[in-house]
Amino acid sequence: MNEFFRIFIIPGGLLLLFMLLALVRLILGPTTPDRVVALDTINTLVVAGMVLVGAAYEEVIYIDVAIVYALLSYIGTLYVAKYLEERPKK
Amino acid sequence: MIDFFITFILSLIAYLFLTASAGEIAGLWSIFEVVLGIVLSVIVSFMATRVLFQKRSYRMLNPARWIIFLIYLIGPFFWAMIKANIDVAYRVITGKINPGIVKISPELKTDLGITLLANSITLTPGTLSVDIDEETNDLYIHWINVTTLKPTTADICGTFPQWVRRIAE
């Protein structure tokens, strides 16, 4: 195990474990926006975790995945938000 | 034409930033890479110029504004962000909240300015921009700790509007 792995794997892993907390909100969330917020939080955590895990594996090319993830999860969020915005009120 | 050129330069910079590695040119890029980058940037400019320059405003081309932006980012913005996070952390732990949605009129003219301000507000103390009035550029802000019912702009975002005005107007 090299230096990188030793330092970065535990923070990365912890970040990914915090997803479980967000998942609870995804299950409980009384309204739809709550669940979207949980999704957004999961995405942020995953991006940060991906950067750390990539650094831990000492694979520089892995960071590209994190960039794609950060850019595109945002689009998904926007789509849901747009749908919620246009939904006819009951 | 100048729009096209600016887009070209920006995308070339982004491309070169992405592909920096070992090579002949400045020890970072190979020649082939740069040539390919120029070709791709031309294509991207064809696709993105009409999106990036819908309104023909070249105000952001002034390098002085970029420096102010960097100073803003590192100085007041970052400091406010630290404050914000400690504040939210305190609220997470204690659970003391007193929320409400209030309206402020920062009186910014440009779209870029209002965008910058809104995103800054979202990342700073106890505030979250909920909605925007498209005509008058008024921001509706969710404030986690309402102290006054009729807040001024300074109550909520401190010196940000001045900074933003300096950067974007």
Binding site: P33, A48, I67, K89 | L128
Partner: protein, 120 residues
């Protein structure tokens, strides 16, 4: 090396703590807007620090080994960080606006000027 390691550990610890607080805040707060406060601010802030840790460490390694891959690591991490900084608050804004328009009102709100204004 010693100072660097300490800085690194501090940065990583800050990152983890704030991410953790963000997740807990997501659970603890009563309604969408306050949850957005917690999740957006804290997770973004935490991610900045973890990314900064990676960048600092890779610059140090670059200085040490002169291997170009650490430069790539630093640059790409920086780009990821910028993407996160640009997209996260915008996403939060979009969600909160959508939530308000779809009829989810803030709980325990002392004032709601947006509802009074009734945009469209």
């Amino acid at each position: 090396m010693g100072i660097l390691l300490i800085v690194l550990y501090i940065f990583l610890t800050i990152g983890i703590i704030f991410n953790c607080l963000g997740s807990i805040g997501l659970l603890r707060f009563p309604d969408v807007y306050t949850r957005l406060h917690a999740s957006t601010k804290n997770t973004t802030f935490g991610s900045i620090f973890t990314c900064l840790a990676v960048i600092i460490f890779s610059f140090y390694q670059l200085h040490l080994t002169q291997d170009s891959k650490f430069l790539v690591l630093a640059l790409h991490t920086f780009i990821a960080l910028v993407c996160l900084l640009v997209t996260n608050p915008t996403g939060a804004h979009a969600i909160s606006r959508a939530a308000h328009r779809s009829g989810v009102m803030p709980k325990q709100a002392v004032i709601d000027q947006l509802k009074e204004a009734k945009l469209k």
